[in-house]
Amino acid sequence: MSDELDEIQGIFFEECAEGLAVAEQGLSAMAEGDVSSETIAGVFRAVHSIKGGSGAFGHAALLAFSHRFENVLDEVRAGRIPASGEVTQTMLGAFDILSDHVTAAQGGTEPPADAVMLEQLDAILESKGAASQASPVVAAPEPVAELDDFGFTPVAAVIDDFDPFGFEPVAVELDDFASPEPAEPAGWTVRFGPSRGALANGGEPMLVIRELEEMGAAVTAVDTGALPGLRDLDPEDSYFVWTLTLPGSVAEQDIRDCFDFVAPDSLIEIARAAAVVMVVVEEPAAEDFDGFGVFEPLPVSLPDLDLAPAEPMLTLVPAAAAPAVPAPVVQAAPAKAAPAQAEKPKAEARQGSVEVAQSIRVDLSKLDQLLNLVGELVIRGSILSDRLSPADQERVELPELSRLTRQIQDNVMSLRAQPIKQAFSRVPRMLRDLSAETGKKVVLETIGEMTEVDKGVIEKIGDPLTHMIRNAVDHGIESAEERLAAGKPAEGTIHLSAEQKGARIIVRVRDDGRGINRERVRAKAIERGIISADAPISDEEIDGLICAPGFSTAETISNISGRGVGMDVVRSNVEALGGRLEINSVPGEGTTFTMALPLTLAILDGMIVRLGDQRFVLPLANVIETVQPEPGQVQATSPSSEVIELRGQYLPVRRVGELFGMRSHRVPEDSLVIIVESETAGNVGLMVDTIDNRREVVIKSLEDNLHPIRGLGGATILGDGSIALILDIDALVAPTGGSSKYALKGMAA
């Protein structure tokens, strides 16, 4: 039982995380001036669903805060509070607190201090609330629940509520109707009258109606007949009966589910509108807003209604024949609103004009399993191919099969690919916090956040990214005074970019701060015993020192960075991913951290080469060309180094056997030289015995059962079941001792 609950709770927190991401994007968009109703509604919905779930799981603090936050959002959504910069900033702050609340609820820790933020939110509500007192309609977003907030709201307020319920798009719907829509079952009519005690029992009718609205429901009428005079009105009683219409595509069970937690003696009627003859025929929809007439209960009522959910659409023919009849409009609209879109604002769903990517939630481990299976399939495919006679290999079926297998593989890979935005999305919040803590103003610029990367990579770059940003703000960006004195704008800028380059993703964090203070870094490194005082060391090597374990130049250990773990973690995380970290710093102009990460952790396009009786895989992305050297084309420049002359240029040549210390390996006369491109040493020739073939290989990590080995990117299992090691060109050809990265390794060890 409790396991099940934990699981559901887990889903809730997953949804919270998604909701927070949506809310943050929306709020950021608002901060940048996009105050369109969809954006605001998106934020509202996100916060609303967090609130809903938190109530269900008894996270009181989260519930209380999200409720107050939602109130403000609701007002903004309804246009009663302008989405000014100031309001948006407050909401961004509120968002931060909300995330903290979610974290606290998830970790079972103390909820954050939100009193100040709540005051600010209330201040927004009050100031606008006061303003709207003057206007004829008092805005009460949740007509019943909010009554006590606003005193005894005049009935007129209820009418105004039609606005948030989104009734305006009637005209649009008519247009929609005129265009031929695919057939769909008749719409639903739902009558809902909470029992008098519903509120006392915690049954909030607004939540039910919202839930219905999310499925595309619209309130067509409210029966206020039971509403007593002001004198007798009990604000904790429920007097209304709502009539809602829902699109026929919604399943009856889904509607019923909305009423699961409603007090049992409430009035609930769910029925399909059987015919075109609805009340709206007599009272055209546009008039609904005019007066109190609309509050009549729908005369359509029950005799005509058909409860069978599978009932085919009765109304389509007459409806199509009489396009002027407004009635079916309500039901005809969301033809495109498939269930997955149910959460979209109904205005969008009705118009069907907004293209929404449909998605389903899949456990990542299932994808991994699928990917593994496809990987095995590829291997089996090549085993099969190897075993067939050459004549059979030429048959059309085999290439077809391998093409299909490849396509499946590509597709499965793309399932795991996600925009890197997911990793970037937490940066704005972090910067706001950092700005608040340090008092430094920082502007963030992001480029290429839609670059797609394997999910596994995204998950793992979060921490390095966090440390790099912290580092940039804490150590890189100067204080406003310093910046002005140096002739820079007072606000610092951090550029965050992602781009795909071959089989790698390049993620850069660039700040325009003071750059690395090399004198200080060097002094510190000597003090910490990381390097010896007389060690000759290049600027690049000094920059690299900031990634040494236990290194920190911050004079005082600050909250933000300065514990001397940050950049060390960055480097090890990046390397564990098979990536590389580069640091470029120009004193006075800023520092750039570059992470070069593999695009995927699973499959590699490789060239199988042979050395003695062992086979290796060279990533094809690194290969430029293959040369069969003429006698004398490869010459020694020292006992341990050789160069190859290629079109007038001399490139260094490495013997792979020697790099790996394969003592027994005898280099054959007709060795091939493969020219590869590396980030660490430019173009380099690698000497191998022969080339077997080119093939896609499934990367099996060495770390799973062993540990990473320098120069190897992993291993793969070849068609015959044997293992070939995958070469990591960049690490392999890195000039020993010359590169700061490896010099550093030696020092740190």
């Binding site: 593994n372 095995e376 390397e575 062992q614 790099l659 790996f660 210390g661 394969m662 099996k700 990590s701 060495l702 799973d704 059962n705 062993l706 540990h707 990473p708 080995i709 320098r710 120069g711 190897l712 992993g714 291993a715 299992i717 079941g721 044997s722 293992i723 070939a724 090691l725 060890a749």
Partner: protein, 163 residues
Amino acid sequence: MSTEDSELDERKIVTFTLGNRLFGIDMRSLIEIREWEEPTPLPSVPPYVKGVTNLRGSVVPVVGLSERLGWAPSELHSRSCILVVTIGGRHAGFLVDEVQDIVVIQGSEIQPAPDVEINEQGAIAGLVKIERRTHDAAANAEAMCLLLDLDALSLTRQVPDFA
């Protein structure tokens, strides 16, 4: 399960030889026993890591257990085999001279290991006396079996960072 774990404090161990010494590992750590097959050698690893091999689609390191424990490398012969074990979720293959038996011992029979001639503390979890079966049942004799602590042999813990 329950009888094995709680009731009698019984443990099943797999015994094998390295040279003339008898060793045991907990049966629950054993995944499979396979014939010796030359693994793919790896660069930049200590000599006792013989290489990697393909265990049903995953890449598993093969360790010369004798060298790992500080003795002379095992000589390969027809009964040489690889014990594939799981250590803390990772898999590893140990080259051993000969697999002997599966023996049930009582937890209470295990004696703590005194200083043994091993270059590393902790690899021997304890000593236990077992009956060693021979081809001639009458000649069965008691023998000392060294119980290995696999966690202490974890490759990732002992291998210096070559990455």
